[in-house]
Amino acid sequence: GIQVEQSPPDLILQEGANSTLRCNFSDSVNNLQWFHQNPWGQLINLFYIPSGTKQNGRLSATTVATERYSLLYISSSQTTDSGVYFCAVERTGSEKLVFGKGTKLTVNP
């Protein structure tokens, strides 16, 4: 099956700092989503981004499908950004969304 690798596995920031999270995948995809799992376990969809660039407030994401990677940018981080960020992809021709292992982000005040 498709492989999804996220980096870094852990990231600690001071409030106000910027960060970039990376997701590499091993095959062509027709679906890529970024999720945030808060400390209470709730998974929230951040972006549906199989290609191109999107922005939502302090968050933006870019997927370069031809090079099989996606980036999630967090600017001016806040303590509420803490949690685990997951990348999930669906290989072209499949209808199965496969998750990476996540990046655990801790934002300190």
């Binding site: 709730q42 998974l43 549906y48 209808e95 496969v98």
Partner: protein, 116 residues
């Protein structure tokens, strides 16, 4: 609009006991998923329904797990008998394929199972 509703939120049972989880998807979402998330890992798909048909159950351990989605709305996931290794969070999600074919999942809060 109500989100995906799951119950119970927490369940503690002894091994070999049965357990059941319930999910009510977002109204109008025809696709429903059950995922399992082990500690420190990403969610892994157990089963996917389109309406009342299970279209992908290849990852469901069928010797002890069963699922149903009657009338294409609510779904239940059952484990009988539970084993220690079943301790995990069981997540339900639903989706509606949009006009551009986007399959965006919305997750419930999850059911945390502890098997003693």
């Amino acid at each position: 609009e109500a989100g995906v509703v799951q119950s119970p939120r927490y369940k503690i049972i002894e091994k070999k006991q049965p357990v059941a989880f319930w999910c009510n998807p977002i109204s109008g979402h025809n696709t429903l998923y059950w995922y399992r998330q082990n500690l420190g890992q990403g969610p892994e798909l157990l089963i996917r329904y389109e309406n009342e048909e299970a279209v992908d159950d290849s990852q469901l351990p069928k010797d002890r797990f069963s699922a149903e989605r009657l009338k294409g709305v609510d779904s239940t996931l059952k484990i009988q008998p539970a084993e220690l290794g079943d301790s995990a969070v069981y997540l339900c999600a639903s989706s509606l394929v949009g006009s551009f074919g986007a399959n965006v999942l919305t997750f419930g809060a999850g059911s945390r199972l502890t098997v003693l």
